[in-house]
Subunit: 324 residues, 5 copies
């Protein structure tokens, strides 16, 4: 009955799925190998079986196997006979899978789905920010659970870093799209090459056929026509004419009713243009928004591809090490 | 007066309601059973009573019972007489119920009720995201309180994982519904089969009778009629006609008042259509929104059923183990 | 100079205001009471005074009193003379009051005041969710500070649980009210009994006199009148008549100006009804919203009453124990 | 080479800037002062210099000074010659300033600036709630860093409590203002005394001169005039007259065009009033909002004053103790 | 086989990239240097190689080098021969880079990008507040990981403080801009010098050419003209004239149709002005908003410059120390 505390070099590269191989070396260091020779009394299966019976509080480690090998420590003055026990410990990953991997995958899934949120109506950037906040809290949990001993960085750290990077990248993308969608009215006209590149070619890639304008026009009764009428000449002049100079030549007799009608017509047109502009935005603005939608969908696709590739790689690495 | 530190294999499957059975074995390992025999001096009731008197700082463990049994450790060379004390310890669950289970149930209840929030007007997805953030903070508390010793994963971990999964699932559902409701204007027309399936059959399942359209039409004075009139022909032509070509044949004399009236009428119609479209959305959009509502309610029902089944199962498991 | 570690059964029912009574028993267990008798050398006041002088790092405990009593431990073979020192330790509650109770009361106050936020315009449910999130973080702090030793659950745990329960309840109430306010347009008409019960009787209880409708009508020029005119007959028919068949019989000569005016009138009426409907909502909707307001205020009242009763009870319990 | 663990009564009133004075007493308690006398070998400067050289891992404590004084412990039987070393330890405050005070001041500053957010358009209450949530997280950090040993509550705790109280107070103020601004349409007219007190006197105090109404009226063409015209008589009657009875007496010949014009005029007036009401709110509502703005600014001023006074007091206390 | 616990003065100025130099001194302090002389048996390379083979659980420290030097401790009575081993330990920075620096840089990047969010439409201040909240959670993680031993404040603390300060500064800036943008309607006219300074000179600095007003006017048909017409005279008088006194002199015969038309015209003008005002804001308001945009962009530029300079400085300091 002797309590021995030994240390073991942990290989935590595949952290929650890792298998440690620790060796215990016993030897009579007072007698040379010529005097005393260590031989093993039980086969390694018997030792394993007995150890598993005796072992009680194994916590997160599971005794997976024990192998025995005699060896000799050779020094200058002579050798010592030794017996080395290799103890294979397999970590029980359930705790870490349940507390770290599953919630993390949940958050990534939410981040993925959040691309479905319309960036304009709902505040998608705020949603994603809260998500990243949740992930930060999550890193806090992780720091309490993760082992710090070891030379190599565990793969799970890479997993979390990639997850965080993806979230941040998707947040930045959202901010960009929001900027395009909301501030588009301050922009200049879309450059020709951008318009062609995005709306003609990329839009096809993301299965977003360019909307036929005609359908939409049936509803608001093309204001571009009206705008075209007024675009060549000075609007203010046109406005002024009916008030001061234009009415007399058309109607020599001061016909007050017609005058009132013209004023009515002018005001109504002003309201109509204002309303059209409000509900629909300018041409430029619309085009920018369309570009925003196309880019949003394109980056969404790239995001899915990148996530898939990253996670399949990591899972492959884990399963390889776990099987080995 | 001797302090003995012993270890005990914990069975934490039913964690906050668990009962541990630890054994203490006393024996004179210097003398064989033929030389010395251990017999118990007090009955187990007396020992229990005395122990409970003496026990002071029992913390979260309550001494539930002690049973005594003599046994013999038989080795090849002879046996040792032993006495085994089985100490039944019952964990006081109040702390964990108050700090873990009750807040968790509260959060789940909030998640359940959040289905009542209208997904369009209020930002339901953001609400649910904050809820999940709160739950993550909560998992942080849990990790400090939960024991990590033990082979099996405690049932409470399953409980928390299911809760988190449900929350995430309901968040994803909300994102989906929000997408249907907000982006519906970009969608194509609802496929026929989907419309029939959802609006006719599923709507009945969720007690949401299809709204009679007539009631609603009484208010906005069917624009579909107007739209129908303009849909066959080219709108812009119609618009242009009164301006350039159509007026002369109808009114040979250049009647300016009538002209103004026609302009007025045209502008007003444009405004009216714009307003109608804004306040009511297109037919397609409305149908998609209706589908969103039906699916939302359907999944809400499924969610309730699933929650109920999961939690009843877990409570049954707990109560079984606690009673046993 | 001998360091003795003793343990003391803590009574933490009134946790941050608790007073512990620990006993130290000294006795010569090698000599029976007949041989050696323990007598106290100093009065308990002297001991207390000297102890307080000597005591340096008392941390959160304050030595409140020491009382001394000789006693005898009687066994079968004879008794031992003992002296028992009862050490009264009073916990310094300032740390816990400042870190736990005051912030908790602050959060409860905020929750109380948040009823003042209008549930429609501002996102009250989201506000309350953030509040609950803050409270969860707060429970995290609490778990680090609270003692876990002890049989009974401390009253402060009950306090926190009630606070959390109240917050959750008020959040659920808010969700419900929000649902009534926002989704009311999808509801059927208010049932007669509910309307009478809530708007006539409960509204009086919460000092919310039913608004006189007339004042409001002066502004929007009763659309119910117009709606009534159109409700009996088929609207679409009325709409169609001026366009196709109705005009000829009324005006035998094809008077185009009048025709245009009628179109104008029709469109304007449509816009007006649309605008009225938008700004004011339907009658049913308004009634539901009124019900929502009444219930909101009623539950607010009940909430205040419940909070007051709970906290007065808890404070009474604490002050009783602290005074004792 | 002897390791001595001593304890020292910490005075943590001025916590991160505190200076501790610990004493170490050495004496030969086997020999009376008559037999053996302790004299110091080195001056206190030499000791200090040598200690500072030797001291390696001083962590957060800096050895500020050592003073030496011989003393005598006088008992009844005789005295012992002692030497007392007073060790002055100064805490390095940088860690706490960087981690506790600076972020806390940042949060307070944000809270102060958040008064600039318009309570109506942006959700100021939600902003402040998030701020308080951040402060709660912050208290969590604080609890890990703050010492709990000591009798008095450190001044930094008072600092944090005042900060939290100020934040909560400003949040409550915001909720109140939001209530006034958003729910003002449900309120009764502003009481005369309140209107005079707030709008005439307090408005001057906060440099917010009452807006001249005329400027605003130039834009919306005083609807109060129209409202006045209709306020005396029953609106519905006026409305009905043109439809049923009023038109015949005015125009004996059934002039349909005029009839249509009157209908047009009526509808347009209704829309205009609706739009006016929407964009501008009622008189009462406007007055309440003005009161809200004045009170908001007034409390903002008080808040600044209170913050300034509190923090200057605390800083004075700290600097006094640090200098001493 | 002797376990020696030694302490080493850590220099944590360049914390996660630090290299520690610890010395171990061995000497026979029973024998003077004249009697016994310590000489090193192996070269420092051999010692290093052997140590690295033997070293197993090195955790976060990597043995970078060992150098050996004989020395002599000279006292008055004689000297002791000593051997000093200098052990160079290099910290493995991966853990800290992954857990502290990368997420921190991510958050800073998000903060930088959040300037792209339009301050008006989306709630940018709320977004930034959540970001700061996330950073606070992050400081919590940092406090668990950072070493507290050491005299100097590590550079990483400065890094975090600067990051937090930048975030808070940008939040304050956002609040200010939001105030300018949202509350601009309450402001007085822009002072002349401010307008010239910001809109003419600063706008050029930030590549934001002043918008030509004409383009915008083409859409809403210059209301300033109308406003100018009404600004000289009393509007209410003009309004009243057509109703009571003005119509009779113009049209001696009571022409009801013209009367109705005038009423129509007046109402429509009122609506038009209201709509214009709503969609476009007043001149002053627009100018303030323009100023807000210019300042926002200017401070954004300064922010980028400051961030760049700070981080390049810190990285230079780190790389210098790491290379050394």
């Amino acid at each position: 009955p002797l309590r021995v505390v030994s240390s073991c070099r942990l290989v935590i590269y595949t952290f929650p799925f890792d298998i440690q191989n620790c060796s215990l070396t016993f030897g009579p260091y007072l007698h040379f190998a010529t005097d005393m020779r260590m031989i093993q009394g039980l086969t390694s299966e018997e030792i394993l079986k007995e150890s598993q019976d005796v072992l009680q509080t194994n916590g997160e480690w599971e005794l997976a196997g024990i192998s025995v090998a005699p060896s000799t420590l050779t020094l200058d003055e002579g050798g010592y006979s030794e017996i080395k026990y290799y103890i294979i410990l397999r970590r029980r990953p359930v705790l870490y899978v349940v507390n770290l991997l599953i919630p993390s995958c949940f958050l990534i899934t939410v981040d993925l789905f959040s691309f479905l949120l319309p960036p304009q109506t709902v505040d998608r950037s705020s949603f994603k920010m809260t998500l990243i906040l949740g992930y930060t809290v999550f890193l806090l949990i992780m720091n309490d659970l993760l082992p710090v001993t070891g030379e190599t960085t565990p793969l799970i750290n890479v997993f979390f870093s990639i997850s965080l990077a993806l979230m941040v990248a998707s947040l930045l993308e959202t901010v960009l799209i929001t900027n395009i969608q909301c501030s588009s009215s301050q922009y200049n006209a879309v450059p020709r090459w951008l318009s062609v590149l995005v709306l003609r070619y990329l839009a096809v890639v993301v299965f977003l056929p360019r909307k036929k304008k005609n359908n939409q026009i049936t509803v608001f009764l093309n204001p571009s026509l009206i705008a075209k009428n007024f675009s060549n000449t000075d609007i203010s002049a046109i406005q002024l004419q009916p008030v001061f100079g234009d009415t007399p030549p058309v109607n020599p007799p001061p016909e007050p009713a017609l005058d009132e009608l013209r004023k009515l017509s002018r005001d109504l047109l002003a309201i109509r243009l204002q309303v059209d502009k409000h509900f629909q935005g300018s041409e430029t603005s619309q085009e920018w928004q369309m570009i925003g939608i196309v880019i949003d969908r394109l980056l969404f696709g790239l995001y899915i591809v990148f996530i898939a590739v990253s996670f399949i790689t990591i899972i492959c690495l884990w399963s390889n090490h776990y099987a080995a």
